[in-house]
Symmetry: C2
DNA sequence: CAACTTACTTCAAATTTTGAAGTAAAATGA
DNA sequence: TCATTTTACTTCAAAATTTGAAGTAAGTTG
């Protein structure tokens, strides 16, 4: 079922907000060699934003399901994302803030719940007693590991060959670019 | 400032959840021709999910800022996304649900606010009186147009040449694949 | 036409996110 | 050195978003 859907074509509307198609004459050329997208159209940042919103929603609900399966009741998917953001390193709240572009009070709130649930440890730094150092507990590590295990199946479906991997990587890098552009725009104006 | 940041390298951690790197010997080859990502690593779906969450957060806050600038006070960015999802077509609530993978009651709530704010019209369909047909009002069209205008600057920064466009398109298609895989997994299990 | 399904709405509750106002420690500087 | 400012975070209250269960009304089916 999934296999059937994976490589079907996508109809994307052509749009020109801020573009002039004539600026890019090369666009219809050089299509051989890789399994790159077939439809050559112009993707606006709004279309991307809407796509990102949808995909994010889907992932969150998948994560919720996975956590329910695992019997995790005391924290939600948003907190799990924080856990994954911490990963296997010890870091300060500030560093965590940067990792996820969270708002301070938001992370504070999540960390409180995660600490209450026994998923993380917070230790005041010796050097700077204002700074709380965060680290996963055994329980936190375990949840992350379980979620990563559950995720393995998706990785296998999504990245079947080198072309898939390349596309995933391009997607990742392109999203990172969006992150930078949108982030800087928020701070300094475009 | 933005220009400087656009093409800096990205350090991505290599991970192997569900992967065996040896499965992809081709991956280090064929790097010439296009400005494709330089670092050849394996992106897991979790890394992508975290990236998507971050980018989504950034966009939402950008949209909020843009709307504040425009003096829009009666609806938030989430409702604006619904407006953008409607676009210039007339559709039913069900179709809108599919367009954004929303939950029914959620959309119902947003549509109520959008209708109260005068951004949309809802007309009961003649054929099927259960089905509400939704369409942007003049005011709704205007907000969309303003937001699209504001977005033009981002499009120009994000899509400067054919390579950028290609990467944006690959990102779009790859996200669409995630959407399908995660969506189907939610319904039928992976 | 009774039973079921569809298309949507309403409501209450939970979750997530924001923003303003705190606190305490560190850095700065007269 | 000690008042002032800045940093790093927390708390709180309120708002926004999202969920899920229960409802309504119109179509569809046997």
């Amino acid at each position: 079922m999934i296999q059937k859907l994976l490589h079907e074509g996508v109809e994307v509307e052509t749009s020109f907000d801020g573009y002039h198609a004539a600026d890019f004459p090369e666009i219809t050329a050089e299509k051989q060699g890789h399994r790159h997208p077939v439809h050559t159209v112009v993707v606006t940042h709004f279309e991307l934003a809407r796509m990102i919103e949808r995909v994010n929603r889907r992932f969150a609900s998948l994560l919720r399901t996975e956590m329910t399966k695992l019997g995790v009741e005391d924290v939600g998917p948003a907190q799990a994302m924080v856990l994954m953001a911490i990963g296997d390193v010890e870091l300060s709240v500030g560093e965590l803030l940067d990792r996820g572009h969270y708002v301070g009070s938001n992370i504070s709130y999540y960390l409180k719940q995660l600490a209450d649930g026994g998923y993380i440890d917070r230790v005041a730094s010796q050097r700077d007693k204002r700074s709380a150092r965060i680290r996963l507990t055994e329980k936190g590590e375990q949840l992350c590991a379980n979620l990563r295990d559950a995720g393995g199946a998706y990785n296998r479906v999504l990245a079947r060959d080198a072309d898939d991997l390349r596309n995933l990587e391009i997607a990742f890098q392109t999203l990172h670019r969006l992150e930078l552009v949108w982030g800087n725009a928020a701070r300094y104006g475009i």
